[in-house]
Symmetry: C2
Subunit: 347 residues, 2 copies
């Protein structure tokens, strides 16, 4: 019995195509002698496409992408300050539009310090946690506006929207994940200041916690959480948090566990109504694009998340193990392709 997975591939801008090439190398190799085939469609999207055509993400693009089983994305975004991109906002118009339209309500971001991985902390200890970041609500909804723009009387607002529906589903996902891990869940928010948004998160965590008596539940204000991420990161198992706090914590977590070059993520629609999307946490880094300087490991670990999500646990584990072995053996500078090939060789 063989299975065909329709995969939409969006290499994107900057270093995106380079790291995606290595991720595909690994995906092809790990599935070569298995009974799954990845049927890939390439989508040319991002700042480059915008500059050529003026389009960011059309309805046709969305429909075509939605017809796939999963999405692999490199990175999107042009050179900061490029005047031609002034009104583009590739982030909102492409990346966030995909996350919102495809209802990626779980933004899954594992942080594991692999033996041998470099890192800024003198004594990190064992670090292995997952941030479950809400992906479709909070301050990311785009419910902002401004009046008297450009004048001394301007007022610019942004509204964070949090619904019981949206919070509950991601909190449930986080508890289920904690059950399969070390059974510790930390809610991160700022309940003492953002009292309404904080209260709904705290209430729902309390309610779902009652159904999971074996999961130890903890709460940290976001400011305190950043302290613990650098002084005691091994205290964390599963962190559940809102879209903006999750954005901040996962960049910091990436830095703490070997750098953003190793941080993978999944934008997941657990219901399966829409394809989930896997992407490195890093951006398009136009300053080093085309130079084979980028580390493709984050993109390759995103393949591991993709495989796991699709139910190919064994293949996923092989990719993770190959990455872990590669990191343990690292020495000296290698090109993007060299890292990809080395990991492929270890599969």
């Amino acid at each position: 019995m063989s299975r065909v997975v329709k995969l939409a591939v969006i290499p994107g801008d900057g270093i995106g195509p380079e790291v995606i090439a290595e991720a595909e190398k690994v995906l092809d190799a790990v599935t070569a002698d298995s009974d799954v085939t990845f049927d890939k469609t390439r989508f040319s999207l991002g700042a480059g496409r915008f500059l050529e055509t003026g389009d960011t993400l059309t309805d046709d693009d969305l429909a075509a992408i939605s017809a796939h089983d999963a999405i692999l994305l490199g990175a999107v975004g042009g050179t900061p300050g490029d005047p031609r991109l002034k009104n583009a906002n590739i982030e909102r118009g492409l990346l966030l539009k995909l996350r919102f339209t495809l209802d990626h309500y779980v933004n899954l971001r594992p942080s594991k310090l692999f033996p041998g991985a470099p890192g800024p902390l003198a004594d990190p200890g064992e670090v292995d946690f997952v941030v479950v970041r809400e992906g479709t609500e909070g301050p990311y909804v785009g419910n902002g506006g401004a009046i008297r723009v450009g004048t001394p009387q301007e007022v610019a607002n942004e509204t964070s929207v949090n619904t019981a529906f949206g919070v509950e589903r991601v909190v449930r996902y986080a508890f289920d994940l904690a059950e399969r891990r070390r059974r510790k869940l930390t809610l991160v928010h700022k309940t003492n200041v953002l009292v309404h948004a904080g209260a709904i998160w705290q209430r729902i965590v309390n309610e779902v916690a009652a159904e999971h008596p074996d999961v130890t539940v903890d709460y940290l204000h976001v400011d305190a959480a950043t302290i613990f991420l650098v002084t005691d990161p091994s205290r964390f198992d599963v962190i559940v948090t809102d879209n903006l706090f999750g954005d901040i914590l996962t960049d910091l977590a990436g830095a703490v566990t070997g750098g953003i070059g190793l941080a993978a993520s999944g934008n997941i629609n657990p219901d399966g109504a829409f394809p989930s999307m896997f992407e490195p946490v890093h951006g398009s880094a136009p300053d080093i694009a085309g130079q084979q300087k980028a580390d493709p490991t984050a993109a390759i670990l995103s393949i591991a998340l993709l495989l796991d999500h699709l139910g190919f646990a064994a293949e996923s584990a092989r990719v993770s193990a190959a990455v872990e072995a590669d990191i343990a053996a690292r020495s000296g500078a290698r090109t993007t392709a060299e890292i990809g090939s080395a990991i492929t060789a270890r599969l």
Copy 2:
């Protein structure tokens, strides 16, 4: 010619009274043979007062505090989860109410890694920057609300409010500070997602930058800023940012520069219309209260900020130098009072 400064002292809850006792010791000593006298009024405010009287901050309290030249605050807040404080919110009702009512639009938080200070980074380099955090706007305004509270249909919103008036005055302060320092200013925001709030900050920084051609201006997304705080903190000189991002960055910055036990802050009304308030960044830490375990250094460095703000630059420098010498000589555990006395002895 002698000067009398009316100082409101709010020791607060938990470790607040212990660290304030040491801060006062230092203040008394450093002004002993100078021509300034601090005329202190003690205010009993915080969770303890709320539990006794049901009041958090009355109009009379506010009027009495406002009649002072400056405020020294320890820390406020009761034991987390204390059911009697369920509806108190000491943070919003007392601390934030003071900051907002007294128009503390500059929340000044220096981060300096003193030689010998402990820290989680393997190789921090020279770290010496100041975060200028906006103190009266942003997501802290309390413009939130919720409907259908407690039901599966709840919607809870929080609105960040940013005005040209509010952003411009704090940005001007930050540029003036940068002029007196290493002339580098970094705006931290999340302009790619919070497009309206981000745009007003970016616009005003650009406008004020044009008046300061000798200041190098940089921009970082808040997520990227947390990475640099742990991988390259010496790149920063002056950071200007909104209330919430400033809250997060300064806790992380405190951790990076020797821990939150050393981090001081000033809530400043530069116009002088209201008294400014000086406080350690840390909280009331009820778990270690009354045990002489707290480090009073953050409170003592807040005295240095207070003295500087009031124009006593020489006295301020003496306090900082005494702290620096104390940190360089640290070894073994000391009580709160021992640290305070050691610093006092070095004045």
